[in-house]
């Protein structure tokens, strides 16, 4: 009856690892029988958090990204952690269209997408220490 499982993985902050991270999480999520749209929501949210770790967190150079997933009942928890530069003002970073990298054609929609595609999103960040993004998706049965 009890449905629990977890995984943890570390990878370099290289953009070719974005599709790897998306695929790993969606494969892990399959045991919850998600719908196609739930899977694509999860993939997009993971891609947002991993991209942010690479382009913002580790903008000064290569680092390691930790990806943790945990299944608890019908919930999938996903944590994406970097030890990069951290976020100065989290409330501001969460605002739609806020970006510190407009010159790189960023739109400032990453966090907005994570929040709207997942059921819960929490950010824990400290300047100079890094950023943790905690997300939860509730997989609905018979969706």
């Amino acid at each position: 009856m009890e449905n629990k499982n977890k995984m943890r993985l570390t990878f370099d902050s290289l953009s070719q690892n974005e599709s790897f991270a998306r695929s790993v999480v969606s494969c892990f999520a399959l045991q919850l029988n998600p719908s196609i749209s739930e899977i694509s929501d999860i993939k997009t949210a993971v891609s947002e958090a991993v991209t942010n770790a690479i382009v913002h967190g580790y903008s000064q150079g290569l680092g390691e990204i930790i990806l943790e997933c945990e299944i608890d009942g019908n919930k999938l928890h996903i944590n994406i952690i970097d030890n990069g530069i951290g976020i100065e003002n989290v409330d501001q970073a969460l605002e739609p269209f806020f970006t510190t990298r407009e010159e790189d054609e960023r739109s400032g929609m990453g966090f907005t997408i994570m929040k709207s595609f997942m059921d819960e999103v929490k950010i824990d960040s400290k300047k100079g220490l890094g950023t943790k993004v905690y997300m939860t998706k509730v997989i609905k049965t018979d969706s």
């Binding site: 953009s15 070719q16 974005e18 599709s19 998306r22 749209s37 694509s40 929501d41 993939k43 997009t44 891609s47 947002e48 991209t51 690479i54 382009v55 790189d104 054609e105 960023r106 739109s107 929609m109 990453g110 907005t112 997408i113 709207s116 595609f117």
Partner: protein, 102 residues
């Protein structure tokens, strides 16, 4: 990501195939910009996204960036063929308001 194109009368149709993320964005950007620069006599540009299998906010940035470039030449951009998942990302950023769906 792979880019193909077709001139259809005075329309330039740009076909995007594959995953549009940070990994593929900068090369895609360069190819699409060069295509547009080579076709400045076009009346309109259509981005056909039916071959896009994944897109995140990096794709939003890329689309808005192309819009800003092309606007200087007074050429409208339209979008066609986006999948349900791609459309969800496009709509959250209001992209269809500046690059209408056809």
């Amino acid at each position: 990501m792979e880019i193909k194109y077709k001139n259809y009368g005075r329309s330039l149709i740009v076909y995007f195939y594959g995953e549009l993320d940070e990994y593929s964005a900068s090369e895609t950007k360069n190819i699409v910009d060069r295509l547009i620069e080579d076709n400045l006599n076009s009346d309109k540009v259509v981005f056909d996204l039916s071959g896009v299998t994944f897109m995140d906010s990096t794709g939003i940035g890329l689309l808005i960036g192309r819009y800003k470039k092309v606007r200087r030449f007074n050429i409208p951009i339209y979008i066609q063929g986006a999948s349900v998942a791609t459309e969800k990302v496009i709509e959250i950023a209001g992209i269809y308001k500046i690059m209408p769906k056809i």
